[in-house]
Amino acid sequence: MAPKKKEEPKEAPKPKAPEPEPVKIPEFNPTEVVLEFTPEQIEDFKDAFQLFDRTPLNEMKITYGQCGDVIRALGQNPTNAEIMYVLGKPKAEEMATKMLDFDSFLPIHQHICKAKDRGTYEDFVEGLRVFDKLGDGTVMGAELRHVLASLGEKMKEDEVEQLMTNQEDSNGCVNYEAFVKHVMAS
């Protein structure tokens, strides 16, 4: 417990009691990232970047909100939290207004590309097996939908719908190996 404060109105209040602090993750520093892309790859990224650039004057800029889309379109699959981290944890309203140019994008993309634990097909199937109560290779579609909408980085109802369309059989079950193949193939 923190010691009681003396009557010193002008003094700033002492910091709160030492509850266990969460592990402090250092802020993302783009200058510390070493770019390992080849020039060919960079040209490829430029093209994709430009596709999301909606400036007719071709300023090679995208909004913060689009950054995750571009990285994913280029083949990575970060979580939203990872994206927010590399963007320097912007505020919600900044996502639509703050712009990112291509040079600032590269270290961000590099960091995501270097991250281990991308999740293989096996990881994916293992993950779904958690919900396979009968051990028969299927999960209940309804359960899966609920999980996706309420756990982790929650998906919206229409997103879940889009993902699950045509995946359930007449009993409402999803064969998850087929499901994983479906999601991983695009």
């Binding site: 040209e43 939290a81 281990k116 309420s150």
Partner: protein, 729 residues
């Protein structure tokens, strides 16, 4: 991996009785979600690519059209009325206000047209009633055609009504009326029928605003017009039509409306088109709801002034692509009107204006037709050369032909050049306002710049929106003009709303259409739809895939049409003639030649098959593009290629030259078309090449060429590269 440490997932699962709140479950959910988001992003990228392809081809076509029109304008400004080239095209510039309306009414009179007993289509009686209008909708739904007598009668009444309407309609949502606003329809009758089905027919309880681009591209443009006009006549206070950039006879030459009308009405098509030309020029330019919501087709610019616009004589702008000529005083005391082609006895103009010596210059001036015929037959190579040389010289001296961009710049710089007096006219100002309203597009950045992609209007930014809305005390701008995936889209902090009502615009499944319902609270509500039942059942991935295949087909046709330019460009990167280039160079060359602004590297996987160590065999690549060339004995490959590349320009010129709108042109006119095209493109097309071409064409018995047949005979057809028609998911 940065693990999300939020405990919310755990808190919310208390409704599930099985053990979900465990770390493996959390991790599994995150994994699936990550992969899902990647899946969506990749699909989005493919969709954008496809969209880009269609849109850039579409806008490049519009830009092409405007360039062609500017070229004609250039001919008009710098050549004598006796010049044959000018004569071929001058009629499209002819002012219509020389004749009185009474004379025109006589010309458009329907009374002499008999309706045969065998006619099974709808009969209209005037003044038209709402059951008549409803009958018309039913008839068109059943694929019937309205008799030309009724068409002319209906159009005549419409013309008369439009003449008394103001440039800007003011409407209100009082009496709790909800207003329905529709965007571009582009000849998609099924979409209009779907809107009526979902929303009800127009009536005094159900007012509608139709925001332009009713015609072109789709195949039922005329039926849409007839329906809209009939409801306009029945409910003139409750149906409002705004002019779009496609309500323009010059644009119609290229984008299919002219062809549609002539095809459906062989005998009276020409009259119908002429009457429509007037009607288009008399369409109101904008609608304002409750003094707060502005509805117009294209957009605005930083100079948009509604007070100015409400005062213009809008019908002078028969085509938005060119300002109307005003009577100007020349030093010799003559006025511009003396130079008009309608006056067969053109006097020679002040010699201080540079003139071209034409073959007919010194001969006596007969009627316009005689002059034309004489100059057509009398032309020989020498004169042709001098015309082309003269053109080159003029271009060099005068700079670019007068284009919208030039006008804008000169208005900005207030350059005064006595020879091009047009630029100083207040007409220039008015014209710019109108073009901006019909052609502009919004952009995310602040500012206002010329819309060079389309070739007309400007790109305007959020600051311009704020300023123009503020200046006029408005709260919302509703416009159309751009196709949107979901049928509608907000931008500029929700102060600009795009509404687009033609679903499946680029391809079946490419986009939904939408319309707006708006009540006294002026909050827009959207209803979306897609006109093809089959497409509704497609998943997003399937419809993206289908649209993508269509776009790639169109793109491959374009690539093939530019084959020789592309090969030259590739060869620049292959100095040792190995036949191979790197993929990076391939992308550069593609953009340099086609200039479509497409992401070639992203498209690479779709356009290029196998490569050897990242090197592409370009000749082989062309062979694998799977383009079917028309079966022809024509050996002149470059002429063939010009035909593929400039397919639309060629067709436009044909239709312009075909003054009696018969769909047929003579061989001489055919030759003149090529001469015009070659002047415009600044390339050489020899008489010999044209004769070779003529030999390969199947002439009609009377020695005329059917334009439609000709264009079809020389069309490239792209096949599907992939055999499978799409995956089940």
């Amino acid at each position: 991996m940065v693990v999300s440490s939020s405990p919310t997932g755990i808190k919310n699962c208390k409704c599930l009785c099985v053990v979900i709140c465990s770390l493996p479950a959390m991790r599994a959910a995150l994994l699936i979600q990550r992969w899902y988001r990647q899946y969506v992003a990749r699909l989005e990228m493919r969709r954008r690519c496809t969209w880009n392809i269609f849109q850039s081809i579409e806008y490049a076509g519009e830009q092409d059209q405007i360039k062609l029109y500017n070229f004609f304008g250039y001919l008009m400004d710098h050549f004598t009325p006796a010049s044959s080239e000018r004569n071929l095209i001058s009629h499209i510039f002819r002012e219509n206000n020389i004749c009185r309306n009474v004379d025109w009414e006589r010309y458009f009179c329907y009374k002499s047209i008999e309706v045969p007993e065998l006619y099974s289509g709808p009969h209209l009686s005037f003044p038209i009633t709402c059951s008549n209008a409803a009958e018309l909708v039913e008839a068109f739904k059943n694929k019937q055609q309205l008799h030309s007598r009724y068409v002319l009668q209906l159009l005549g009444e419409t013309w008369r009504l439009l003449r008394i309407l103001p440039n800007i309609s003011q409407i209100s949502t009082s009496h709790s009326k909800e207003i329905t606003i529709c965007g571009d329809l582009h000849g998609h009758l099924e979409d209009l029928l779907l809107v009526f089905y979902k929303n009800g027919l127009p009536s005094s309880d159900k007012p509608y605003v139709f925001n332009g681009d009713f015609v072109d591209r789709g195949k039922d443009s005329l039926e849409i017009l007839l329906i809209l006009f009939s409801f306009l006549l029945v409910y003139p206070n409750d149906v409002h039509l705004n002019r779009g950039n496609h309500e323009d006879h010059i644009v119609n030459l290229r984008y299919g409306f002219t062809k549609e009308v002539l095809g459906k009405y062989r005998l009276h098509g020409k009259k119908i088109l002429k009457l429509l030309q007037k009607i288009f020029s008399w369409l109101p330019l904008a609608t304002v709801i409750d003094h707060k919501v502005l509805v117009l087709h294209g957009g605005i610019s930083d100079t948009t002034d509604l007070h100015l616009i409400s005062r213009v004589d809008r019908h002078k702008y028969v085509s938005a692509l060119r300002p109307p000529k005003r009577k100007r005083q020349y030093r010799s005391g003559m006025t511009e009107s003396d130079l008009e082609d309608d006056d067969p006895t053109s006097k020679p103009v002040d010699s201080s204006r540079r003139r071209v010596h034409s073959l007919t210059h010194s001969s006596s001036t007969g009627t316009r037709h005689e002059v034309q015929r004489r100059s057509l037959q009398g032309l020989n190579n020498r004169v042709t050369c001098s015309v082309e040389e003269e053109l080159k010289e003029r271009r060099r001296q005068a700079g670019l032909s007068q284009s919208y961009g030039d006008l804008r710049n000169s208005l900005a710089n207030s350059d005064s050049d006595p020879d091009s007096g047009e630029l100083l006219d207040s007409y220039g100002d008015e014209w710019k306002q109108i073009v901006d309203m019909l052609w502009s597009d919004p952009m995310p950045q602040d500012g206002c710049v010329p819309n060079e992609v389309r070739g007309g209007g400007c790109y305007w930014g959020p600051d311009v929106t704020e300023e123009v809305l503020r200046r006029h005390n408005l709260t919302l701008l509703i416009r159309s003009h751009e196709c949107k995936q979901e049928g509608y889209e907000f931008c500029h902090n929700r102060r600009v709303l795009t509404i687009f009502s033609a679903s499946n615009y680029y391809e079946v499944g490419s986009n939904r259409g939408a319309y707006i319902r708006m009540g006294p609270d002026l909050v827009p509500h959207f209803i979306q739809y897609q006109a093809n039942r089959a497409t509704r059942a497609l998943t997003l991935r399937q419809s993206v895939g289908r649209t993508e295949r269509s776009a790639l087909r169109a793109l491959r046709e374009k690539l093939f049409a530019h084959k020789s330019d592309l090969i030259s460009s590739f060869q620049e990167y292959d100095p040792e003639n190995t036949g191979l280039i790197s993929l990076g160079h391939w992308a550069c060359a593609m953009e340099a030649v086609l200039r479509l602004g497409l992401p070639w590297r992203v498209l690479r996987s779709q356009l290029v098959g196998d490569t050897l160590d990242g090197m592409l065999d370009y000749q082989l690549w062309f062979r694998e593009l799977a383009i079917t060339e028309p079966n022809t004995e024509l050996s002149n490959a470059s002429l063939l290629e010009t035909m593929y590349k400039h397919h639309s320009n060629l067709e436009t010129i044909f239709r312009i030259i075909d003054t009696d709108n018969s769909g047929l042109i003579s061989f001489e006119e055919f030759r003149q078309t090529w001469k015009l095209l070659s002047s415009h493109l600044q390339t050489e097309i020899s008489d010999e090449a044209i004769s070779d071409l003529a030999v390969s064409i199947d002439f009609n018995k009377d020695g005329s060429i059917d334009i439609n047949e000709f264009m079809e005979a020389f069309r490239l057809v792209g096949g599907d590269l992939l055999q499978n028609e799409g995956d089940p998911h």
